[in-house]
Symmetry: C2
DNA sequence: TGATAATTGTTTTTTGTTTCACAAATAAAT
DNA sequence: ATTTATTTGTGAAACAAAAAACAATTATCA
C-alpha cells in the first residue's frame, strides 16, 4: 500500500466512515457534508475533514462530498473487495455469539475456521463453519493461510494458545481474554477488554462530569 | 470524589492495574516494580509510574510498590467495595454471552436486570437474572436505581432504546451496536464496535509495520 | 452575471499523552 | 559504616491528536 502512513487515530475511524457512507448510499443520498457526517458518527467536523484530507482532496468546496465516489474510495483503502478469513479460537459463550453474528454480512471479514478442545464440538459444523481440534490448529492455519485470529479461550489458556498462533505464523490477534498476552514484535494484538470497558465507564461517571470517552 | 481529575488515558488503565495487582496478591507476591508491571500489562514503565504518581507517592524508591497496600489503594479509587448493578438490554446472541459471563466474579459489576421484547424470555429468570418486558424498562430502571446499561439490541432498535434509557435517567451506556447513538450531554456512551476493531486490526496489518494499537 | 452562502482543505493553535533522563531515596551487600 | 544496586517520582522534551480559524473555491440564486 502506497498510503503515506496515516495517523493511527485516523485509521481507527476509517471503517466507521465506510459503514456510514454505505448507509447513506443505500438511503439514496448523493452528497454529504462534514457537518452531517459529524452528527452521525460523532467526531468533530474538522477532524473528519482532516482525516479525509490525508488521502487527498476528496470533496468539493461549497458542495461537500459525493457519497458514491467517497464510498468507492474508502472501499479501496479498506480492501473491501477481498474477503479476509479469520480463525476463531474457543467456541464458548462469547465465541458462539461472534460466530453466529459472523461479520461477513456487513463487512469483508468472516470467520472461516473454528478451533476448540471440546470433543463434542470438534468435527462438527457450527453456523456453517467447521470446528477443528486445537491440536490441528497450527497446520490448519498454515494450510488455509489465515492471518488473523479471534481469541476467546479461558484466560488460563490464553498465553499457551497465543504461542501456538504465533507458531502458526498468525499476524494479528483480536484478544477477548483479560490477559495481556506476550507476542513477538511482528504480531499485532488488539485487546478487547469488556470488563475494563465497563469499569472505566463507571469510573468516568463517578469521577468526571463531562462527555464521551472514545 | 476528591481526586484532582486524572487524565482520561490513565483512568482507562486503572482497572487493568487493579486486576493484575489482585493476581499478584493471590500469587503471594508482596512487592512489585514498575518494570515488572510493565512486562505484565504492556504499558511503558514510565507511564505506569506517572499514572501512579497522580495519586501521590505510592511506592518506595529502591524497593518498588507494596502489592497489598497498592491494591487496597486502587480498590478505594475504583470503589471496589460497592457492587454496581447494570441493566442488559437485548438478550440475543451477545446479550446471552455477557449475561452468562456476568462480570461479578472478577469485579464489582453485575447484570441485575435484563430487558427484551421476546415474549418467550419475558418473566423468566436467565442465569439467575430476571428478564423484564422492554415496556417496563423505564419504571424498572428508576425503581431499581440502575445507572448503567449494556445495549445489545439490533442496530435498528438502538436509537429508540437509547431514548428510553435516557428517559429512565440512565447515566452511562456500553453500546455494542454499530450505531453511534445520540444522547444528551450528561449521558456517557462507551462504544464497543467489534466489527470496527476487526477491520482496524486488518487495516493496520496491511498498512503498518510496527507494533500494538491500544 | 454578480453577489451571497456553503463548505472544503490546510495552517495554526491548543490540548493531551508518552517517553526520556536523572536526582533523590532507599535497600542490600561488603 | 560505606559503597553499590535499585527504583521511584518528576521536570522537561517529544510526540500525537483535536480543534479552531480562515482563505480558497464552488454552488446557487437573484
Ligand atoms: N462471555 C463474555 O461475555 C466475556 C466477557 C468478557 C471477557 N470474556 C473472556 O472471553 C474468554 C471466553 O469467554 P467465554 O465466556 O466464552 O468462556 P467459555 O468458557 O464459555 O468458553 C471457552 C471455550 O474455549 C474452549 N477452550 C478451552 N481451552 C481451550 C484450548 N486450550 N484451546 C482451544 N479452546 C479451548 C472451551 O472448550 C470453550 O468452548 C474468556 O477469557 C473470558 O474471560 C468473556
Ligand atoms: N453477536 C455479536 O457477536 C455481535 C458482534 C458485533 C456487534 N453486535 C451488535 O450487537 C447487537 C446485538 O447483537 P446480537 O447478535 O446479540 O443480536 P440478536 O438479534 O441475537 O439479539 C438481539 C436481541 O434484542 C432483542 N430486541 C429486539 N428489539 C428489541 C427492543 N426494541 N427492545 C429490547 N430488546 C429487543 C431481541 O429479542 C433479541 O433477543 C447488534 O446491534 C449487533 O450489531 C453483535
Amino acid at each position: 500500500m502506497a498510503e503515506p502512513s496515516i495517523p493511527r487515530a485516523t485509521a481507527k475511524r476509517l471503517p466507521i466512515y465506510y459503514r456510514y457512507l454505505k448507509f447513506l448510499l443505500d438511503a439514496g443520498k448523493t452528497r454529504v457534508s462534514s457537518t452531517e457526517l459529524s452528527d452521525a458518527v460523532k467526531f468533530d467536523a474538522a477532524t473528519i475533514r482532516r482525516d479525509f484530507s490525508y488521502f487527498g482532496a476528496l470533496g468539493k468546496r461549497g458542495y461537500g462530498y459525493d457519497v458514491e465516489s467517497l464510498l468507492d474510495f474508502f472501499a479501496k483503502i479498506l480492501n473491501q473487495d477481498t474477503l479476509t478469513n479469520v480463525a476463531l479460537i474457543g467456541l464458548g459463550n462469547l465465541g458462539h455469539a461472534l460466530l453466529n453474528f459472523n461479520f461477513h454480512k456487513n463487512s469483508n471479514v468472516r470467520v472461516s475456521a473454528v478451533f476448540d478442545i471440546n470433543q463434542e464440538l470438534i468435527n462438527t459444523i457450527q453456523s456453517g463453519v467447521p470446528v477443528y481440534d486445537i491440536k490441528d490448529m497450527v497446520n490448519q492455519i498454515q494450510d488455509q493461510r489465515i492471518e488473523i485470529a479471534i481469541l476467546t479461550v479461558p484466560q488460563s489458556e490464553a498465553q499457551a494458545t497465543t504461542d501456538l498462533l504465533v507458531k502458526a505464523g498468525i499476524k494479528g490477534i483480536l484478544n477477548f481474554t483479560p490477559l495481556r498476552v506476550t507476542v513477538p514484535e511482528k504480531v499485532r494484538v488488539q485487546n478487547v477488554d469488556l470488563t475494563n470497558e465497563l469499569q472505566t465507564l463507571i469510573y468516568f461517571i463517578e469521577n468526571y462530569s463531562e462527555q464521551s470517552i472514545n
